[in-house]
């Protein structure tokens, strides 16, 4: 049916957010999803894909990309919540048909394989969006807690202790599987709407437009693009600068401990000078008392130097730190006193080819900083793992 654009235009200009009160059966092309909402949707698809891929199949050193995607999702979420108030009609939460009865009726009609087309979200779709946004919010929050607690990074690094971060990481994983289910349901819904019921939901999310009965259409007389771009810019600047300010604080449970010159000179002449948080005080004292039999070599020192080094190591042993390395490796005593004999070390380095350890830029398994760029600080963040020569696990 031919569209009477003149009518629409005049109507839009004079009434703005108003129902059309035309009483005929004409269908008109109306923008349902404003451009900012569509850009939000597809940006979210991209960011969730990157986060999902790097999270589910990625190696630990992909954490940087995963976290970047996570921050993007966080910014998009805050934008979406604000857009739920400031956006055009169908983007606002108050337009969502969230009444439980409506959703129930919609499911019933779906089971009868008939469903009328909805202008904005259908009742199940509206709940779907809420489930998606809520799950994503849980994911971003638990992700930032996990990043802060386990890696000592991100805006919550200064706040969250390791054990809290570990619990957050468990929740993060559960939420990730939940999102997997919610996204699958969302895609199933789109499939049902687009392919079985032949409602043009997919083209609507691309062009923004739907052909709907003129009697039901709600028009907005102006473009929301400028407002959307402005809101996204403000959201990004506020969250990014706030996040950067928070992230600039030193992580909780970690401090810079300058090693005495003797430690770097003596211990560091044969091997990487391990961060003291990687062994317990007991282990360090035991090691320092038997330097003449040091892993097959005589590493004995004069009494004065021995005391100086032992004092430093004991004062900064694993118990003084709240980092992932201090918990998973440092607090675990091994009979050999070796770091590489701890279960966590073995698990995390399982499957790395011998040649990776033996190549000249690494040298051996006990040269942490062959791959861990931040080994000297004791922080061992996943994203600071750099395999030399592009070698991968």
């Amino acid at each position: 049916m031919k569209l009477d654009m003149a009518f629409i235009n005049i109507f839009q200009k004079t009434h703005g957010h108003q129902y059309a009160d035309a009483d005929d059966n004409r269908t008109v092309k109306v923008q349902i999803w404003d451009l900012p909402l569509r850009l939000f949707h597809w940006s979210m698809v991209a960011a969730v894909s990157v986060a999902g891929f790097t999270g589910f199949v990625g190696r630990p050193w992909w954490l940087g990309a995963h976290v970047f995607a996570g921050y993007s999702i966080g910014i998009l979420l805050v934008f979406r919540f604000a857009w739920g108030v400031l956006g055009s009609h169908y983007s606002t939460f108050k337009s969502f048909p969230l009444a439980p009865r409506g959703a129930l009726n919609h499911v019933r009609s779906l089971l009868r394989r008939s469903s009328r087309a909805h202008t904005g979200h259908n009742p199940v779709g509206a709940w779907m969006i809420m489930a998606l946004l809520f799950t994503l919010l849980v994911l971003v929050s638990t992700g930032m807690f996990a990043l802060g607690g386990q890696e000592g990074l991100g805006p919550l690094g200064f706040l969250v202790d390791f054990q809290t971060g570990r619990r957050a990481a468990d929740l993060h994983e559960i939420a990730a599987w939940a999102l997997f289910g919610v996204v699958a349901t969302h895609l199933l819904g789109v499939f049902v709407e687009a392919c079985l019921l032949r409602h043009p939901v997919l083209s609507a999310m691309i062009t923004g437009n739907k052909w709907i009965s003129a009697t039901k259409a709600r028009f907005h007389r102006r473009s929301y693009t400028a407002r959307g771009v402005g809101l996204l810019a403000v959201t990004t600047v506020v969250l990014l600068s706030g996040g950067l300010i928070l992230a600039s604080n030193p992580p909780s449970g970690w401090m810079l401990v300058p090693a005495p010159a003797a430690y770097s000179a003596e211990c560091g002449s044969c091997h990487h000078a391990y961060h003291p948080s990687l062994r317990t005080e007991k282990s360090w004292r035991s090691m320092m008392s038997n330097l003449s039999e040091h892993y097959g070599e005589d590493a004995s020192l004069d009494a004065e130097t021995t005391t100086a080094i032992e004092t430093f190591l004991a004062a900064n042993a694993a118990g003084k730190f709240d980092t992932e390395a201090s918990w998973r490796i440092g607090r675990t005593d091994t009979r050999s006193l070796r770091i590489t004999d701890t279960a966590f070390w073995k698990k995390r380095h399982d499957g790395i080819a011998e040649r990776v350890f033996k190549q000249s830029s690494v040298g051996s398994k006990i040269n942490c900083n062959g791959c861990h760029g931040d080994a000297a600080s004791g922080r061992f963040a996943d994203q600071n793992i750099h395999f030399p020569n592009g070698d991968k696990k």
Partner: protein, 146 residues
């Protein structure tokens, strides 16, 4: 000939200190090295009346020998320092060791405490005993002449 070992290093250190005190004190690396040589020479003379100087050749033989009498992982000097003393070595932990020869590592053999520390540790690790003054002098002569 049974290798002479020094059970009590204190008299030797006193002799070395006396030897050092006879030399002009100068900060340059080669002067510091000369002082160490002078100390070992003094000690060797007092130990062996017919001392006829250190030998780079004996030093080389020691460096390249494979006594395998100390710790099992370090049967010879070359286990870590490589057979070419002018090349870089590698510790068992995988850390690079600067070349042993003075021409490549001019900062070497300028601190008597450091020199004695490494002789003490590595002679025990490779030879299973402490080194004699003669062996130390020969070794340093070989490394300085290369």
């Amino acid at each position: 000939m049974k290798p002479r070992t020094i059970e009590n290093p204190r008299p030797m250190l006193i002799i070395m200190a006396l030897g050092l005190s006879l030399l002009p004190i100068d900060g340059s690396a080669s002067d510091l090295r000369q002082q160490i040589f002078a100390g070992y020479t003094q000690a060797a003379k007092s130990k062996t009346p017919d001392f006829a100087g250190f030998s780079a050749k004996r030093g080389q033989e020691l460096f390249l020998s494979r006594p395998a009498a100390g710790k099992p992982d370090t049967p010879s000097c070359t286990s870590c320092h490589s057979t070419d003393p002018a090349a870089k070595g590698l510790t068992r932990a995988g850390k690079e060791i600067a070349p042993m020869v003075v021409s490549k590592s001019p900062e070497r053999y300028t601190d008597i405490k450091k020199v004695e520390k490494w002789f003490r540790r590595n002679c025990k690790g490779v030879l299973g005993r402490t080194c004699t003054v003669m062996e130390k002098g020969d070794f340093l002569t070989f490394m300085s002449n290369r």
